[in-house]
């Protein structure tokens, strides 16, 4: 190996850095702001700390969250890969999506029953190698061809099926605690007991069709509804769900 050659102007290094993880348990920005302020008054050291976000809620206003954090001078360098529904939203803000090798399963409890917050920055997570951090430009959609994916086996509790840039046709069930996500529409011919997220990249024209609606959560383009709020007369029926001016509309198909 020669050491006499001139050093290039830049170089990608595979070194691992460690950054702190900022785990967000709530999607209530006011609550987050409050909690953040309390924790910062307890330890000023947390300010200016570079962090990677670990977003637990399935749905959260990422732009709003970044504003809250910036106001308190938290330096966000990216977000670890979490729910696929969040990934697109994170990329749109220009943040890097980081693979967290230490992350466990992706089955997170529903928004309402999220565990109580832990102290921020309590865990240090290894950051990705630098080349990864210099992530490719956010996917803008349209680059890959739109596809329709057929899936014929049950999506079981703890599993997640994400159809990037396409529709999903599922001829089996979605178990409670399972999650199906598509950038386009969802067609579910088995019983839907888990979560269904259509229009994951923000397509407000996306729809959810299912043969028996018993979902824990449904969402289209970020507008969501949990089981308790889904109209009771739609339960266990064949239903179409669409978005009408930021409101989810349920229509029985039978």
């Amino acid at each position: 190996m020669s050491t006499t050659e001139a050093r290039p102007a830049l170089e990608f290094r595979g070194r691992m850095l460690s950054v702190s993880l900022l785990r967000i348990h709530s999607n209530d920005l006011d609550e987050i702001a409050d909690s953040l302020r309390t924790q910062l008054t307890r330890s000023a050291l947390l300010r200016e700390l570079p962090v990677a976000l670990d977003l637990k809620p399935q749905i959260i206003d990422v732009d709003g969250l970044l504003q809250v954090l910036r106001r308190e001078h938290i330096k966000v360098i990216g977000a670890v890969r979490g729910a696929a529904s969040m990934e697109a939203a994170v990329r749109r803000t220009g943040l890097a999506v980081i693979q967290d090798p230490g992350s466990r399963g992706r089955d997170e409890p529903p928004v309402e029953s999220a565990p109580p917050p832990e102290p921020a920055a309590a865990e240090a997570a290894p950051a990705p190698a630098e080349p990864q951090a210099a992530a490719p430009a956010p996917a803008q959609g349209g680059a890959e061809p739109f596809r329709v994916q057929l899936h014929e086996t049950p999506v079981r509790s703890g599993q997640q099926l994400y159809i990037r840039n396409g529709d999903l046709t599922l001829t089996a069930q979605v178990g409670a605690g399972a999650e199906v996500i598509a950038d386009g529409n969802l067609h579910i011919y088995g019983v839907l007991r888990g979560r269904a997220i259509a229009g994951a990249q923000g397509d407000t024209a996306a729809r959810i069709f299912c043969r028996s609606l018993q979902a824990e959560l449904v969402a289209i383009a970020g507008t969501y509804m949990v089981a308790d709020d889904i109209p009771a007369d739609m339960r266990k029926r064949a239903v179409q769900i669409r978005l009408d001016k930021e409101r989810l509309v349920f229509e029985a198909l039978d």
């Binding site: 049950p154 079981r156 509790s157 069930q173 178990g175 605690g177 019983v191």
Partner: protein, 268 residues
């Protein structure tokens, strides 16, 4: 070719070990050379239920680590010809098993046995994964209650995606075993019905084992319940084995008809 069968559930305490012991006994009783392995390292109790706990010298972990050979570690059942037990270690920690080590032991056993029954620990961590990883078939044990069914759904997902078979395009064949079933409690709405459970898990049902006091008593006595004469639960396990081997048998002990005078007098 030996067949590897995992008995698994996700949730703890649902009856995996009870099922493993009776199922292995049933296969051996029908003349099939069978070994049952305790994968629950650190919490061994298969040997207790099989009644061979006082004859354990070497265990599964010893064999995996090359500290003993299979001949030394296999415990021959005293009641049934063709039945062997490979006990778990109580003193080792959960990480004592390795994927390569387990594979080698299973390969060696496959040369000699027709059926290898793997009693899985609860959970979905490494121990449970190693127990299912090489399985050809799976008995998924579920109690008729929501949390147990949910965990079983989760285990089914792992069987279908993470096992050696699944990765090679041949996932383990799944069978549903509903245990601790109580028709009275289903009627009172305190338990899920057989139909509910089948509907949620969407795999074929191979048997329903009724809730029975005999199970605890026979476990304490070191006798797998299938060997008890006149026990509902034992006969239900007998049916499971028969169905597993291809026989067609109607479900028994699933309706809550009143007990006859005789059975009330003599107990079940």
């Amino acid at each position: 070719m030996a067949k590897i069968i995992v008995v698994t559930s996700g949730k703890g305490g649902v009856g995996k070990t009870t099922t493993s012991a009776s199922f292995a006994c049933g296969l051996a009783k029908r003349g099939h050379k069978t070994v049952v392995i305790d994968f629950d390292v650190g919490l061994r109790n298969l040997d207790l239920i099989m009644g061979c706990e006082r004859r354990v010298v070497y265990d599964f972990v010893n064999v995996v680590h090359g500290e003993a050979n299979l001949k030394q570690a296999l415990i021959k059942d005293k009641r049934i010809e063709n039945l062997y037990v490979l006990a778990a270690s109580q003193t080792r920690d959960k990480d004592a098993l390795t994927e390569d080590g387990v594979k080698k032991v299973l390969d060696d056993l496959a040369k000699d046995f027709e059926y290898i029954v793997c009693d899985s620990p609860a959970g979905i961590e490494k121990g449970a994964f190693l127990a299912m990883n090489f399985a050809d078939e799976a008995l998924v044990v579920t109690n008729p209650e929501v949390s147990s069914v949910r965990d079983s759904d989760r285990v089914l997902g792992l069987l279908q995606s993470k096992t050696v078979g699944a990765k090679a395009g041949q996932p383990p064949k799944e069978h549903l075993v509903i245990t601790r079933y109580s028709p009275e409690r289903v009627q009172q709405g305190e338990m899920l019905s057989i139909e509910d459970v089948k509907d949620i898990l969407a795999i074929p049902l191979i048997g329903v084992i009724p809730e029975s006091k005999t199970v605890l008593n026979s476990s304490n006595a070191g006798t797998p319940v299938i060997l008890e004469d006149n026990a509902d639960a034992g006969q239900a396990y007998e049916d499971v084995v028969a169905r597993f081997l291809g026989e067609d048998r109607p479900l028994r002990f699933v309706s809550s008809e009143r007990k006859g005078l005789l059975s009330r007098l003599f107990g079940d």
